[in-house]
């Protein structure tokens, strides 16, 4: 286990949206635990009590999609989105301004894409809401789809906002490219 990077970050370098982003992420975190409990309950129910729980697979599938968007804002705020800093470190030794420019460019592109996704997702969400869309197998297991479509909109909007709000902080500090000493943040 790595030590929690957030406890070491001084308040001045924190992302302004860190708290709301962490709240969203916490919902996702609890949701993961819930899926684990559901999967285990299903296995036990099926193998020992001959009573499988219908819909665990369908619910878990949809949930993964929702969890990503719940966690997205926190990943952006805490600078844990996977990136290659090989060239950035190289540039950083020569020109701190170049690194700042690239970081801002990154934030702008990210904000643009997730804002677009939120905008595209909004119409799908409102369709789903008005048409009372369901997913699952009719009569066996079905759940309303709008909460999942809604989470996609909320999560990507929050993500876009986090990218935008990170720009002032990026302009202030020069040199550092983010938590390069945080290996778990670098994906697998």
């Amino acid at each position: 286990m790595q030590s929690d990077p957030q406890t070491e970050t001084p308040a001045s370098q924190r992302h302004p949206l860190e708290f709301p982003a962490n709240v969203l992420a916490s919902v996702g975190t609890v949701w993961i635990f819930l899926i684990m409990a559901l999967v285990v309950a299903d296995v036990i129910g099926r193998d020992f009590l001959d009573r499988p729980i219908t819909g665990v697979a369908e619910f878990s599938s949809r949930s993964v999609g929702a969890i990503v968007f719940l966690q997205l804002a926190a990943a952006i705020c805490s600078n844990r989105m996977t990136r290659s800093d090989f060239l950035l470190n190289f540039i950083g030794k020569r020109s701190a301004k170049g690194v700042v420019a690239l970081n801002v460019f990154n934030a702008v592109v990210g904000a643009g894409l997730f804002a677009a996704l939120a905008w595209i997702g909004w119409s799908e969400f409102s369709n789903s809401w008005t048409s009372n869309e369901f997913y699952g197998v009719q009569g066996v297991y079905s759940v309303q789809a709008w909460p999942f479509r809604g989470l996609l909109v909320a999560g990507s909007a929050a993500g876009a906002l986090c990218y935008v709000m990170s720009i002032p902080g990026l302009l202030k500090k020069t040199g550092s490219t983010g938590p390069a000493d945080d290996p778990l943040g670098g994906g697998v």
């Binding site: 916490s26 599938s61 993964v64 926190a74 996609l152």
Partner: protein, 442 residues
């Protein structure tokens, strides 16, 4: 512009964006969106595919394996299971030449069966094995190299996050990929162990620090000893987990997702019994699980868009025609592919390489008649070598940052990894040449 020129341009832009430090998920989405828009000259289609990838890209039961296996690995790491495994291996293998090195490999092999992330192994065994080896007169370069080198076993022996990512991208059964990794994984462990013993025998200067060793010979050492019962006690939790996860998968009782859920639950029980979850640590583990899973899953969302774009643009077909016209046979293609993966491994992390390469390479490999499960094992092995190659070798960085000792340079750890890279290359050649090594158990 031809399909090929367009495809080359898009992949080129992607690599440039990634190198410029754009978040890899964002870069994949941007190139996917721009690619569909330009190639089809159809903004509506780009919008539709973007939304489809975002909403459905990871909404599948197999993707639930990712948070579950991450949770299991973190719970196991926090409850000292890795340390216990190493202690037992140390006591059992001490009499061998280079015994502690072999013990590290052995403990990593067992630990790999309960974790899917190489860097988790690297972090755990840096704390456990490096101080112990240094205390017994091993060179730090060798000790750190051994930990970084044997951490790659975490990805070969199931469960393995890279196998899941590959399986998703190449549309292959993740259960089968897991089983296919078993023999190459153990083969790799055996080659590592034999190599360490040979080095200890024939080039002891590489392995031991002569000054420190002569000091050790003069002073009396107090060795850890364990009774049989103590060893059993230390091994029961991990043995039970391995049996549950691998047995369940291999015996067909569990789908990969169920194995992940049951494994995480088992790991939770172990952590509870060992009282490792006090003082907010449980929340820390859960929080970490969420953020690690999210960074991987968002990459997969983005990659599913990128690979849809590639097939819309006809890139895999165009490249495979090019490869054919160039007169490359299947093995020529394979050599070229491995070469590219190894080069990318020097500058990118493992999941990014898979995300960029698999959608292009898997259809070509299939058209050359490769079994895509076999191809997956080759790919993961080649990608894993990138964990140990400079300038960007994430296992090495993990060892360095976990060790937190300024007297040990990153360069010396990279140097310690070189023999392990050689061993991996040898195993890679064997796996390429003998497909049954990966396909025998399926």
């Amino acid at each position: 512009m031809s399909d090929l020129g367009m495809g080359g341009l898009l992949i080129g832009i992607l690599v440039i964006l990634v190198l410029l430090g754009i978040h890899i998920g964002v870069a994949l989405l941007a190139v996917g969106f721009g690619g569909v828009w330009l190639v089809r000259d159809n903004l509506d289609m780009a919008i539709k595919l973007f939304y489809m990838s975002a909403y459905n890209g990871v909404a599948d039961y197999v993707f639930a394996t990712i948070p579950l296996f991450v949770l299991m690995g973190l719970l196991v790491s926090i409850s000292n299971v890795g340390k216990d495994t190493f202690t037992v291996a140390e006591v059992l293998l001490r009499k061998l030449q280079g015994g502690l090195g072999v013990a590290t490999v052995a403990a990593n092999t067992v630990f790999a069966a309960v974790t899917g992330v190489s860097i988790a192994s690297a972090a755990v065994f840096t704390r456990v094995a490096v101080p112990e080896m240094v205390k017994h007169g091993y060179r730090t370069t060798f000790a750190t190299g051994t930990v970084a080198g044997s951490s790659v076993l975490g990805m070969m022996i199931p469960p393995s996050l890279l196998m899941i990512i590959y399986g998703v991208l190449a549309e292959q059964s993740i259960g089968k990929l897991f089983v296919a990794g078993v023999i190459p994984g153990f083969l790799l462990a055996i080659v590592f162990a034999v190599m360490i013993m040979m080095m200890a025998r024939f080039t002891p200067g590489q392995v031991f620090d002569p000054q420190h060793q002569s000091q050790l010979l003069r002073g009396r050492q107090i060795e850890v000893t364990l009774t049989g019962l103590q060893m059993v006690n230390k091994l029961v939790p991990i043995a039970a987990l391995v049996a549950l996860v691998l047995g369940g998968l291999y015996g067909g009782f569990f789908t990969p997702t169920e194995a992940g859920g049951v494994g995480a639950f088992g790991a939770l029980l172990i952590a509870l019994m060992r009282r490792s979850l006090g003082k907010g640590k449980f929340w820390q583990v859960l929080h970490e699980t969420g953020s690690v899973s999210c960074t991987i899953l968002i990459l997969l969302v983005a990659a599913s868009f990128y690979s849809r774009m590639l097939s819309v643009a006809g890139v895999p077909v165009a490249i495979s025609e090019l490869v054919r016209d160039a007169g490359l046979g299947p093995y020529g293609f394979l050599t070229l592919y491995i070469g590219i993966v190894l080069l990318l491994g020097m500058i990118l992390d493992s999941s990014s390489i898979l995300l960029i390469m698999t959608p292009v390479a898997a259809p070509i490999a299939a058209s050359f008649g490769f079994d895509l499960i076999h191809f997956g094992v080759i790919t993961v092995l080649a990608v894993e070598m990138g964990l140990l190659t400079p300038p960007f070798g994430i296992s090495v960085f993990t060892v360095k940052s976990t060790l937190n000792d300024p007297s040990i340079s990153v360069e010396s750890i990279f140097a310690g990894c070189i023999p392990f890279l050689g061993a991996m290359l040898a195993v890679l050649v064997l796996v390429c040449a003998f497909p049954w090594l990966s396909l025998a158990l399926i």
